[in-house]
């Protein structure tokens, strides 16, 4: 059947539906009330789902109750809005909401590409003079691609489309799902609502994991290798993409705002039923003309429940162990641990040229090198290196160098942070020797966390210890207590850096913060901010402390109830839009427990 025949076939089905509708009308007249079926069910390979074009949510072609091999993955996926912004606001802005002016679909096909069998499912809508096709691609390997194609020229002005995909994750059920982002220290869980740049994760590596089953779904944005077409978004512009995490609310299934680049509803709420929005962009210039189409998308890869994670399956980690003369050293033992060294997984020994490798599933690991007797690494007898790999990736950069005859040190340390992710300086930390059952024995010494929230205790040698953290007056740790005990055993030469603590934001405290961007909404990192108390007339009072924006442009202060002034300091040669100067003062008054995440600044 060719494409036009296929359309005729679909038309026939639709006509059939209308006939059914007329029949339904007749039955209404005689007193019955049948209901039209607005959703249909589909399946392909391991996938099963319902799909519809909903006329009250207007989130385009939506998938609901999506399962993989019978395991629930998503409650709902849709595109509640694609906003459009023109240079200098000469035209628009607009909010494209799919489904109201449907031109074609839902339509589907199956095909094989690069050895993988896929099923496509999509609709085409025309909104103004934009032709928009929204597609889903289901892979038999457990991948699900979400794509948006757009062409047309509503106004002869350069503009950007910003599609918002809404993904209501229910991995093995709605409970126990956590959103994680990859950092240099492995994956970090996000428990509260947030709005961040996609680049807050290394290589834009976000995932949602069920903490009970371990199944997880990776969220990857196009990197040009699987989503080329129309215009390829340069990786340097990924900072324009945004990730929003929200607690599920039925009132937020549809788009409730006007034309906006950001998403409302960020109440810093604890997320017990996770919804993730991914916001990409597609630029379009008049010179490209109306018929040049653009595409962007998200790739969701299920790992677990029979899903292969997408792409290449297993990954490889390796490199070599050398001496100071850069000669390979054979016979060195190497352990493979899960993330955080929580579980030992495997071990190997270097070959005569010093090389080694592990074949692993996609994920994060710690490689532990063990120095032969009489040798050591710069870190001591053990050298630990965290590493994360994606499906099909080969990472051969995890090496170690032996320092024959070097002295060894043994230590325990890490950092204290707040639930807001800020460093907690000045926190008292006590070290005790440990009893056989892990309790505290004799007091050894104390220290305080430094300006970065870090601390470290050198210890005499192998043994087990208890580290006691003491929260500042009026504050508690996430265990609800002012004290937190952590038990840790170390071996000779080991430098343990995983004994941390997290301070809860106490009821009596509040938070001030937001983001620094340029006029295009791009995050600006490293911008200095100073926090002052505010005088009665709103002017600056006493200096309190300073912070700088992170890689995503965010900064923040945990404060007590009261009024404050935040002073932004522009990078050399730049000014702020609101002040026209290199300085900008913004004031904020907060009450106990309030979070004011709207103290922002825009740079020229």
């Amino acid at each position: 059947m060719n494409r036009s025949e296929s359309k005729m076939s679909r038309l026939g089905v639709r006509l059939g539906t209308i006939v059914v509708a007329v029949a339904a009308l007749a039955s209404v007249v005689v007193g019955t009330t049948p209901s039209p079926a607005s959703a249909a069910s589909g399946s392909f390979g391991p996938w099963a789902f319902d799909y519809s074009v909903d006329s009250t949510y207007f989130d385009g072609l939506s998938l609901t109750d999506v399962t993989l091999n019978g395991t629930k993955m998503f409650e709902r996926i849709g595109v509640p809005a694609m906003t459009v912004y023109y240079d200098n606001n000469v035209c628009g802005p607009y909010v494209d909401r799919l489904g109201g002016t449907l031109q074609d679909g839902p339509f589907s096909s199956t095909f094989t590409q690069d050895g993988v069998r896929w099923m496509s499912l999509g609709i085409t809508d025309r909104i103004g003079s934009y032709i928009i096709t929204q597609m889903y691609y289901f892979g038999e390997n457990g991948e699900l691609d979400l794509h948006m194609f757009s062409k047309g020229m509503q106004c002869n002005i350069r503009h950007d489309h910003y599609p918002f995909w809404r993904m209501d994750f229910d991995v093995a059920g709605s409970a126990d799902d956590v959103l994680e982002r990859r950092t240099s220290n492995g994956y970090v869980s996000e428990s509260r609502e947030f709005s961040r740049s996609a680049t807050a994760a290394i290589d834009h590596d976000w995932r949602v994991r069920d903490t009970q089953t371990g199944d997880y779904i990776s969220i990857q944005f196009d990197d040009g290798s699987f989503d080329v077409g129309g215009v390829v978004i340069p990786e340097t512009q990924y900072v324009n993409n945004q990730v929003f995490a929200r607690q599920f609310r039925s009132s937020e299934i549809e788009w409730v705002g006007g034309a906006s680049r950001t998403l409302g509803g960020d109440n810093d709420e604890l997320m017990t039923d996770l919804v993730v929005y991914y916001n990409g962009f597609m630029p379009h210039t008049p010179a490209e003309g109306p018929d040049l189409w653009h595409s962007t998308g998200v790739r969701l890869g299920v790992n677990g429940a029979g899903g292969g994670g997408g792409g290449g399956g297993e990954a490889t980690i390796g490199d070599r162990v050398s001496n100071q003369a850069d000669q390979g050293v054979g016979g060195v033992d190497i352990d493979l641990f899960s993330e955080g060294r929580s579980n030992w997984l495997d071990y190997t020994t270097t070959a005569s040229d010093g090389s080694y490798s592990f074949t692993v599933d996609p994920g994060c690991y710690v490689i532990t090198f063990i120095a032969p007797a009489g040798d050591s690494f710069s870190s001591g007898t053990y050298a630990n290196t965290p590493v994360c790999v994606s499906a099909g990736e080969t990472n051969t950069t995890i090496d170690a160098q032996l320092l024959s005859g070097a002295g060894t040190t043994t230590s325990i340390g890490d950092a204290v942070t707040t639930t807001a992710g800020a460093a907690a300086p000045g926190v008292q930390v006590d070290l005790f020797s440990a009893t056989a059952d892990g309790g505290r024995d004799g007091y050894l010494r104390s220290t305080q966390t430094d300006s970065q929230g870090r601390y470290s205790f050198p210890v005499g040698g192998a043994g087990c210890y208890v580290v006691t953290f003491v929260a500042p007056q009026g504050q508690t740790f996430t265990n609800g207590s002012q004290w937190l005990n952590r038990y840790r055993c170390v071996q000779n030469g080991e430098q343990a850096t995983d004994v941390d603590a997290v301070l809860a934001v106490a009821d009596g405290s509040a938070r001030i913060g937001d983001r620094v961007t340029d006029r295009n909404g791009n995050a600006v990192a490293g911008v200095g901010t100073d926090l002052f108390t505010a005088n009665g007339d709103g002017s600056r009072g006493s200096y309190l402390r300073s912070d700088a924006t992170d890689g995503s442009g965010f900064y923040g202060y945990d404060v007590g109830a009261g009024c404050y002034v935040v002073t932004f300091i522009a990078p050399s040669g730049r000014t702020f839009v609101d002040s026209g100067t290199p300085w900008l003062n913004r004031s904020s008054c907060v009450v106990a427990g309030e979070v004011d995440n709207a103290v922002d600044a825009v740079l020229n």
């Binding site: 639709r14 007193g31 709902r76 200098n88 449907l102 002869n156 006007g258 906006s260 010179a287 595409s295």
Partner: protein, 273 residues
């Protein structure tokens, strides 16, 4: 008040559009100044995304067919392609048409003194006193869904109307024979998506305007409508539609108009330059 050249001087919103128009002219003039003559001749300007980011140079590694080929784009190198056999989902327009038919049938029965039909959710919704007051006399059905409670939303029949009389979205859930969760959202805070029928209505009003203005092109151009927003992204306080006329859907706009469907009138119009 028509000036004869298709443009309308207009108070209130017109001032907003006048500012937009001035900005548009200034921006276009600026763009013109930025474009070297050779670039203009080649249809390029300095805002264009660099060539290396376009599909034309990446066609050999593209996953989808490129611009100028079939729509929607198809996977490159796909083999064993077979049209899918998924059942057709009923479309929103079909669903809305059915609901309208039910309402008309109920009204006809009532007018003819016939035995009243069992009340469907749309009749229950429209007969609710609060709904009737919120809708006024001039309204349109824009959304209807039967929810069976299998998902996370509330079960029942979800109905969405836009009242042109009161410029508000009126929506609620009909379940167990009564209206629940009734919401009345002023137009400047929320509006549902534009429907095909509303687009047709707006395009026709705009076409009449340009015809009256004596522009000979209007009957050979295709019209397209899109829900309009204010420059700051906020909703208008009426059902405002931006209409553009093109030779076809792949062509650039030539004539423009802003149509207020609530008032049934043209707010502004201009020739695209």
């Amino acid at each position: 008040m028509d000036t004869g050249d298709g443009s309308l001087p207009y108070p209130g919103l017109g001032r907003l559009f006048l500012l937009m128009g001035i900005a548009s002219v200034v921006a276009l003039a600026w763009l013109g100044l930025q474009m070297a003559p050779s670039a203009i001749a080649q249809g390029q300007n300095q805002d264009a995304v660099p060539d290396e980011e376009h599909a034309s140079v990446l066609s050999n590694q593209a996953r989808f067919t490129g611009p100028g080929e079939v729509w929607p784009p198809q996977p490159v190198g796909a083999i064993d392609m077979v049209d899918g056999d998924l059942p057709a989902a009923e479309t929103a327009s079909e669903r809305l048409a059915e609901v309208e038919l039910r309402v008309q049938a109920a009204q006809a029965n009532a007018a003819n003194g016939a035995e009243p039909a069992a009340a469907g959710p749309s009749q229950i919704f429209l007969n609710d006193a609060g709904v009737a007051e919120a809708l006024g006399d001039d309204y349109r059905l824009v959304g209807f869904e039967n929810r069976d409670g299998s998902g996370k939303g509330r079960s029942g029949a979800a109905l969405v109307y836009f009242s042109r009389s009161n410029n508000a979205t009126v929506r609620g859930i009909v379940a167990n024979g009564r209206v629940n969760d009734l919401e009345i959202l002023p137009a400047d805070t929320y509006q549902p998506a534009l429907l095909s029928s509303e687009e047709v209505e707006a395009v026709e009003l705009a076409r009449q305007h340009w015809r009256a203005a004596g522009d000979n092109r209007i009957d050979s151009l295709a019209g397209f409508g899109i829900l309009a927003f204010q420059p700051d992204g906020e909703y208008f306080d009426t059902r405002m539609v931006y209409v553009s006329f093109h030779v076809d859907e792949d062509a650039r706009p030539e004539l423009l108009a802003w149509v207020d469907l609530s008032r049934g009138e043209i707010v502004d119009a201009e020739v695209e330059r």
